[in-house]
């Protein structure tokens, strides 16, 4: 009797193992199909349909929440993605690990729509602009409620000086939290000096009692609901928040901040470079960029779309960060393993405190 149970177990194991192996099989081998990996709500679904209609290339679409989440899913190898869109420092890591293929953006029909300066920004993670195509960009700053704050908000100081104890919302993401503290202390947000990170850690630990919550996606909603006075937020989210609640304004602190760029890359698994480049070119096209801009409401890299904006949109600092604000902003770079481990330790300590 016992033997039969074991045989059943073994059979079960074999069935499951082969099912798993089947799941790993390459999905792009049959005809023209692209597996695209992107953040949630970061591409108008209608644009995907349009692309398939125009070119006959089928798109398998997958989503992730954070850069780390995206990286972990990509690296697990369960699905072989052809194209992915992620953030600056994560792209740098992928480039360093040899995960991306070179793309020839100069051959794109609509590349002229993408502003030259975004390729300049991208050089901090893709020095020769060989691997990535900029998509959306923006800054990190403070979203504040005009009725709840006193005086002008122009410094990270308001998060740390205790004026708004219990009314502060921080980002529940490691790099975003430390960049705020590091910039406030006057250090580079890409520092690898343990001493500077320790100072940032002490600052964040001292700040914790004043923090109402560490959130990611809910920051905007909490501010719209007027549950807090000041919050660390991405510029695109800030613009949307202002749309929902007129009292909310956005400022990039004078100490400088983070300039972030999300960009597309083609992975080493992609064996249909032609189709992949067609997709990227499609994203640069004015009408498609316009659709995506209206769907996402982040700062677009597409100058043709920017030109069509209303005067009000053009003057909005959250939507189009002014040049002088960008002077003190830095793009996040991938940190070495030692610094990453130290930051992970600190972050756990901060959250467990």
């Amino acid at each position: 009797m016992k033997k039969r149970v074991w045989a059943a177990l073994l059979a079960g194991a074999i069935v499951c193992a082969s099912a798993l192996a089947g799941g790993c099989a390459k999905e792009t081998e049959s005809g023209e199909t692209l597996t695209v990996f992107n953040y949630g709500e970061y591409l108008d679904p209608e644009a995907i349909e349009m692309f398939t209609e125009e070119t006959g290339i089928k798109i398998l679409y997958e989503e992730a929440v954070t850069p780390e989440d995206l990286y972990t899913k990509y690296k697990s190898g369960a699905i072989e993605y052809d194209l992915l869109c992620t953030s600056d420092y994560m792209l740098e890591k992928l480039i360093q690990e040899g995960e991306l293929q070179e793309i020839d953006t100069s051959s794109f029909e609509h590349i002229g729509n993408v502003g030259e300066r975004y390729f300049e920004f991208s050089k901090s993670f893709d020095p020769e602009n060989k691997y990535t195509l900029p998509y959306f960009w923006g800054t990190v700053g403070i979203l504040y409620n005009k009725d709840k704050v006193k005086g002008e908000i122009d410094s990270w100081d308001v998060l740390f000086n205790g004026d708004y104890a219990g009314e502060v919302i921080m980002q529940n993401s490691m790099r975003d939290s430390y960049l705020v503290a590091l910039k406030y202390l006057g250090y580079s947000l890409n520092t690898t000096a343990p001493g500077e990170l320790k100072e940032a850690q002490d600052l964040l630990l001292a700040q914790k009692p004043d923090v109402q919550a560490y959130l990611v996606d809910e920051v905007r909603e909490e501010m719209v609901a007027e549950n807090a006075a000041v919050a660390v937020i991405y510029s695109g989210e800030a613009y949307l928040a202002h749309d929902y609640n007129e009292k909310l304004e956005y400022a990039v602190p004078k100490e400088g901040s983070n300039l972030w760029i999300d960009a597309w890359g083609v992975t080493k698994y992609c064996d249909n470079m032609d189709a992949a480049q067609k997709f990227l070119d499609f994203l640069c096209r004015e009408d498609v960029a316009q659709m995506n801009y209206e769907y996402i409401y982040y700062s677009t890299v597409n100058d043709a779309v920017v030109e069509n904006m209303s005067a009000e949109e053009k003057e909005n600092g959250a939507l189009i960060p002014p040049e002088e604000v960008l002077a003190d902003c830095e793009v996040l770079k991938q940190l070495d393993q030692e610094t990453t481990d130290l930051m992970n330790e600190y972050w756990k300590e901060l959250k467990a405190d």
Partner: protein
């Protein structure tokens, strides 16, 4: 009756594919370093102050939740015992009804209720009372956990209590026992199997949960589940995450050994 072990084949396939293999993978990650060398460091990492703190907080939540669930369940079950069949069914239905809704939605609803400008404070202010600041505290997490797991305590206890022969209660009364004595000497001892499965079903998930702490704790409080989640999704350190999971499993097994050791023979109760 003839035994037919082959009937268990679907279950065996399930166990092999979704319990045994993943468990082996977890153990493999837990016992190796990032470079792939054998190490116990990931499993022992539970003793680091940061992890220990999260573990103790998880324990606090789990024990608190279990005790409060027991205290809430018995009076309810005793009241239900006296109801006729139809009303009993209706009470059970009401109890289970929220479980038909998505669990995340229910926790998000609690977030709205407990937030600073939330529904609870609105009602308190209307009643002329001082607002409470429950949002993002341990209390909020505790409320969420209790709300979520209470049915898992009530149902097995109810099953056990409903099975108790009314004659036993009457006999006790004939011999002069008052209500309290009946409860302590008859109902409670006879419902122990239900109580034990209730404890297992409430203690273990509340010990290992992380979503509730994330939503109702505002990211300020960490259960050991949150630490493990961070290791997997943020730090991309699957080895450490697996190591901590294995230690947590051992910890839960040890705590469970206390309860199952006392289990009465033969008669045991199940949830449904």
């Amino acid at each position: 009756m003839k035994k037919r072990p082959w009937l268990a084949t679907p279950y065996a396939v399930w166990v092999a594919g979704f319990t045994m293999i993943p468990l082996l993978v977890i153990f493999q990650y837990a016992l190796t370093s990032r470079e792939g060398a054998f190490t116990l460091a990931n499993v022992m990492a539970i003793f680091e102050p940061v992890h220990l703190k999260a573990l103790l907080f998880s324990l606090e939540i789990a024990v608190g939740c279990t005790i409060i669930c027991i205290l809430l369940s018995y009076p309810l079950v005793m009241a239900m015992r006296r109801l006729n069949m139809g009303r009993q069914g209706f009470t059970l239905f009401i109890l289970i009804l929220p479980m038909w809704m998505n669990f995340i939605l229910r926790i998000l609803a609690w977030q709205l209720i407990l937030s600073n400008n939330g529904i609870l404070n609105f009602i308190l202010q209307k009643a002329g009372l001082l607002p409470l600041s429950l949002a993002n505290t341990g209390t909020a997490i505790m409320i969420g956990v209790i709300y979520d797991y209470l049915p898992y305590m009530v149902l097995p206890i109810f099953n056990a209590v409903a099975e108790i022969d009314e004659d036993l209660v009457e006999a006790a009364r004939d011999l002069g026992a008052n209500s309290l004595t009946v409860f302590c000497k008859v109902i409670l001892p006879l419902s122990v199997p239900g109580l034990l499965s209730g404890i297992v079903m409430v203690f273990v998930p509340s010990m290992t949960s992380f979503v509730i702490a994330d939503v109702l704790g505002g990211g300020k409080l960490q259960l050991i589940g949150n630490v493990i989640e961070q290791e997997f999704t943020k730090s991309a350190n699957w080895n450490m995450g697996s190591g901590l999971s294995v230690s947590l499993m051992l910890f839960v097994l040890i705590s469970m050994a206390f309860t199952t050791k006392n289990e009465t023979e033969g008669k045991s109760s199940s949830i449904w």
